[in-house]
């Protein structure tokens, strides 16, 4: 068989694999899959961090972008999430993978200081972490359990917030009533699966450089 003839079957195998791993909305990873690692990403704290550095039972990764009104609108809710699990074995980590100047250092440091981010905020200039998680929105959340398997991905809660032109925050569905990340973290801490494991993330599109 010539080399060319292999592409058809190999393509099908790749497609089957991609579909097998994909979630309902996420095109790359699925619930229950081992969370992709990341290594030595620079943080707004001046240090570098790897996924393996976090010893907490639960890790919440959230893909963010300073420029995005859905991130700015949700900042307050995010701070509240971190405060809610203070003293518990939970680590929240923000990840920026866009390459726009307003989404990278030092704009990240400025934004983190202005809002008072109470969690690590890392940048991946290779965008590889975003690609491996299939993250295409900001904000987009991933909850990892003690075994570092993905147990939830998608929205923070059922009423994503957008910052309006006048600076006011507008929740799309009023006061949130379903707190997906909070509930998934609580379930993971209790060693249980999340009742809602995947939702359709809402926000700005992550722009990946063409390779």
């Amino acid at each position: 068989m010539t080399r060319k003839r292999w592409w058809g079957p190999l393509g099908l195998v790749w497609l089957a694999g991609a579909l097998l791993w994909a979630g309902k909305y996420n095109t790359t990873v699925d619930i229950g899959r081992k969370a992709p690692g990341f290594t030595k990403l620079p943080g707004t704290d001046g240090k570098t961090w790897s996924l393996a550095d976090f010893q907490e039972d639960v890790v919440v990764l959230v893909f963010l972008a300073n420029h995005c009104p859905w991130v700015r609108g949700g900042d307050k809710d995010l701070l509240q999430l971190v405060n809610e699990f203070r003293g518990k074995s939970v680590r929240v980590v923000g990840l920026a993978v866009n390459l726009r100047p307003d989404d990278t250092m030092p704009a990240m440091k400025e934004h983190a200081a202005k809002i008072g981010y109470n969690f690590l905020y890392l940048h991946d200039p290779t965008q590889e972490t975003g690609r491996q998680y299939g993250a295409t929105r900001t904000p987009e959340f991933f909850v990892l359990n003690k075994e570092r398997k993905i147990v939830y991905m998608g929205l923070l809660h059922n009423s994503p917030a957008q910052m309006m032109r006048d600076g006011a925050v507008h929740h799309a569905n009023g006061e949130p009533t379903q707190h997906y990340v909070r509930d998934a973290v609580r379930a993971a801490l209790a060693g249980k699966p999340a009742a809602v494991a995947e939702t359709r993330a809402q926000g700005c599109t992550v722009e990946y450089a063409t390779r």
Partner: protein, 175 residues
């Protein structure tokens, strides 16, 4: 006499402005999802390009001039361009910004503002986010759904143009 001078000046200004020759007012019409579908159905017989955008989406804003330029090149080849803003219709400043942006861009095609809750809008449109571009054939069937939903394969302007070339038998040369 004054009227004629004024008309001549307006005509000259329009001829100078690219794409203004049709003298079509640029408007932004607020429509429900169902109404939008009806408007799309009314375009059957044309190839239709729908650009889903918002003023809060930098890639949409950056791409928009290219859409206007494609519209200029394809409009005489049976292709209709439609823009659909998903800006928050309750944010008057954003709606006004969208209107002004379309005017600045001289977007002389059908421009709509979706009158829907954004989560429901994305569900109904079957997209995760914007920018997103849909292309419909002359029978009104959606043939291309170009999105940024897959990090391994986000669409570019070239994909829009390639889709247009495949749908239109009289398409101009790609630029």
């Amino acid at each position: 006499m004054h009227g004629r001078v004024r008309d001549s000046l307006v005509l000259a200004a329009c001829l100078l402005a690219a794409g203004c020759s049709r003298l079509r007012p640029i408007t932004l019409q607020q429509v429900s999802f169902d109404e939008f579908q009806r408007r799309l159905a009314a375009l059957r017989g044309h190839i239709v390009v729908v650009d889903i955008w918002a003023t809060w989406c930098p890639p949409c804003i950056e791409r928009f001039p290219r859409m206007v330029e494609m519209h200029r090149r394809y409009r005489d080849h049976g292709v209709r361009f439609v823009s659909l803003s998903v800006d928050n219709r309750e944010d008057q400043a954003a709606v006004e910004e969208a209107r002004r942006f379309l005017q600045r861009q001289n977007a002389s095609f059908d421009n709509y503002l979706l009158d829907e809750n954004i989560l429901k809008a994305f569900e109904k449109l079957d997209i995760l986010g914007i920018p997103a571009v849909f292309l419909y054939d002359r029978d009104g069937r959606r043939r291309y759904r170009l999105t940024g939903d897959d990090p391994r394969r986000q669409f570019t302007e070239k994909d829009i143009e390639a889709a247009l070339q495949s749908l239109s038998t009289t398409a101009p040369e790609m630029e």
